[in-house]
């Protein structure tokens, strides 16, 4: 079955406290100059009909009010 990867991230403009926490931790570890960290999630799946992945994302994998998603077919 065709494989796909869905990347889900907080919409631009929505406060992402996880991203902020990661960003704040980096300088203490010696990683300077890293900005705009956003933490999302990735879903890997195999789908018989990759055409339907958009609908699947809209309905379940992402909440379109607060998250953007990106489908990568592999």
């Amino acid at each position: 079955m065709p494989k796909a990867r869905v990347l889900i991230r907080p919409k631009e403009g929505i406060l992402d406290p996880q991203g902020k926490a990661v960003e704040r931790a980096l300088p203490a570890l010696g990683f300077e100059g890293v900005e705009h960290v956003r933490v999302g999630r990735m879903v890997e799946l195999e789908a018989e009909d990759p055409e339907r992945l958009g609908e699947l994302c809209e309905k379940l994998l992402a909440n379109p009010l607060i998250e953007d998603y990106e489908i990568q077919t592999l």
């Binding site: 406060l15 406290p17 926490a21 379940l60 009010l65």
Partner: protein, 213 residues
């Protein structure tokens, strides 16, 4: 009035909700998530907890349960529905209430008593809250609409916003007014023994909304 309280795998406040419903109006029963039959109840509580482990997003999977399909029909027909904490998240995910609940601004799980303002009466209620993902969010235009149409049901009192919710919103109702959701836990505030009985006001308000409909 007979209340039904949904029970999902991972619910943890359904027993307190059941007790609160009984204190508020006499009769209540649990409704299993796999059943589409609401057993003839007059009002439904979607309780707190971590339905289906809160996998993916809080409430995202619970909304597809047979019981929630029945609740959506029940709500569309004007039946009163109260979503508490995880139940509020479920109702938002199901599109029965506007907005979404995000991770608390400071990433901390909060557990404390808080003052809420009941928007219609202007009265202050003392009710406990406990959540890690309770930051209410909706786009600005939606918030303006909610305010204009009186759909903001509860607001955290000044200085009591525990999670960074926009405009201090703790709870909202749908346009028709029969579906209400809030992050704080009125079911834990129905006995003087635990410090406050203000939670009963929330149950009574929902029951009244159903009666009006």
């Amino acid at each position: 009035m007979i209340w039904g309280v949904l029970q999902f795998p991972g619910s943890c406040d359904e027993r307190d909700a059941l007790h609160a419903c009984e204190v508020a109006s006499g009769e209540a029963r649990l409704l299993w998530h796999e059943s589409r039959d609401l057993d003839g109840v007059d009002a439904v509580v979607v309780p707190g907890g971590f339905s289906y482990g809160d996998y993916l997003r809080a409430g995202a999977i619970a909304r597809f349960s047979p019981a929630m399909e029945a609740v959506a029909e029940f709500a569309a027909a004007g039946g009163p529905v109260l979503g508490i904490c995880n139940g509020f998240q479920v109702l938002c995910e199901a599109g029965l209430l506007p907005g979404a609940l995000l991770r608390n601004e400071d990433l901390r799980f909060v557990c404390r008593q808080a003052d809420l303002i009941e928007e219609r009466s202007g009265e202050t209620l003392s009710i406990p809250l406990k959540h890690g993902e309770g930051r209410y969010y909706a786009p600005e235009a939606v918030l303006d609409e909610l305010e204009a149409s009186g759909q903001v049901a509860y607001r955290y009192a000044p200085g009591h916003n525990p999670n960074g919710s926009v405009r201090d919103i703790a709870g909202v109702r749908n346009e028709a007014g029969n579906v209400v959701g809030l992050m704080p836990h009125p079911e834990h505030a129905v006995d003087p023994l635990t410090g406050s009985t203000d939670g009963l006001r929330v149950f009574e308000a929902v029951a009244a909304a159903g009666a009006r409909g």
